[in-house]
Symmetry: C2
Subunit: 245 residues, 2 copies
């Protein structure tokens, strides 16, 4: 019986294992060997595709699992008591999301698909248990959280100091870098989020974001066609962002 199940697993999911996932260099599976990866595989459940707008988790619900994005993109956001929404991040394939729920035991933010998205789901307790035997995995979890903290700190710097041009330029350059790291074009990409979402994330209004895009296009730095962005003058954009991509 056990044998049966395992055969089934193999046949169904040959392309659904960490070792075959083309994201393992970005994801938790980085630097794990085959036997370690198969242990990780055993505690991962692969979700079916979610449509735009669907929630991967909801602010306030019990913290049980973390998620690793396979395809698509999501935003995380918190809703304040007065009901206004603050986007805290955008995430792409390979990103591990949800670790910020550990300390309170509840999800501090909602995770929503920006487009058709698939994600792997991992029960945190199992992941933590597995991390005892797999130092590389343990380190990877800590690295992910450490990086999250640094990213948020970079955002603080952006919001505390920078004007609208600098914010938008930095935003585009960071996206560009993240797409590049995933093997996509760094100079031509599609924004999965709306202008409103960009504005919210950057602490600006939609109007301002729109104006900055228009101005950057007029100056020949970028080409904008609705959500399609092309970076034409990387250097100029870097200068606008004060080289702090």
């Amino acid at each position: 019986m056990n044998h049966n199940i395992s055969l089934q697993n193999v046949s169904i999911s040959s392309s659904m294992q960490c070792c075959n996932c083309n994201l393992n260099s970005l994801c938790m599976a980085v630097s794990l060997d085959l036997s370690e990866m198969s242990k990780l595989d055993r505690i991962i459940s692969r979700g079916k595709p979610m449509r735009k707008g669907q929630l991967l988790s909801t602010q306030g619900e019990n913290f049980i699992s973390v998620f690793a994005l396979k395809t698509g993109s999501v935003k995380t956001y918190t809703t304040s008591a007065e009901g206004d929404e603050q986007i805290t991040g955008f995430y792409f394939p390979g990103d591990l999301i949800g670790l910020n729920g550990i300390h309170s035991g509840t999800c501090p933010d909602s995770i929503q698909a920006l487009e058709t998205t698939t994600a792997c789901k991992i029960e945190f307790e199992q992941l933590d248990q597995l991390s005892v035997d797999l130092p590389k995995l343990r380190r990877q979890i800590l690295k992910t959280m450490s990086k999250d903290i640094c990213n948020e700190q970079n955002m603080l710097q952006l919001l505390a100091n920078k004007n609208s041009d600098e914010r938008v330029a930095t935003f585009l350059l960071r996206l560009s870098n993240r797409f590049k790291a995933r093997g996509f074009s760094e100079s031509r990409f599609r924004l999965p989020m709306s202008r409103n979402e960009i504005a919210n994330y950057l602490g600006l209004t939609v109007e301002t974001v729109s104006r900055v895009f228009t101005r950057m296009q007029k100056n020949g730095f970028i080409l904008v066609n609705n959500k399609e962005i092309q970076i034409v003058e990387l250097k100029a954009l870097l200068k606008l962002a004060n080289n702090t991509a």
Copy 2:
């Protein structure tokens, strides 16, 4: 010989052990039993007092240790390429600092004493190793990082959405809560940081912070005497902060 050393340890440091530290309910040692705590004790080195302005660690240097504050207070800040400083946090006794260096292997920010301050220093590799055998310690480290992420996200919300009154009110209320958690008065406390540092942290100018303090005092919400703050009308302050302390 071994015996000798251990005797010495006991005699010198009876009050210098986690189990005798009045902060262990806030610090890593939370919920560890005596034998677990003594293991933690063995890898902790207690630093001598640092004076105001001294650096606990410097941005860019190799990441080796994390710190647990015993007394005093510190700020963490990053210095950008152009040389301007962004304060990313203020920390008080019991806080564990420096975990954000894990992912890059270098310290992403500098940690500076705001007053006379003592801190325990723990080599991260040893802490990580110890966490394998002490699930509660492992969990505590993850909780600390998770909470850090949430704190930064709260700051994002503050900087992206709130006006100067809301920022300063929220700042004071959060400080009040943290002092309360440490057994100090929640309604009367001394700010260890300058107006400049508050302004920098909150994404405002010194002038604006000063004006907000003055206005709050005129309205009878707080009493300000240089760095001494007294919260007179908690409710009014909460309302100013939109109840998001």
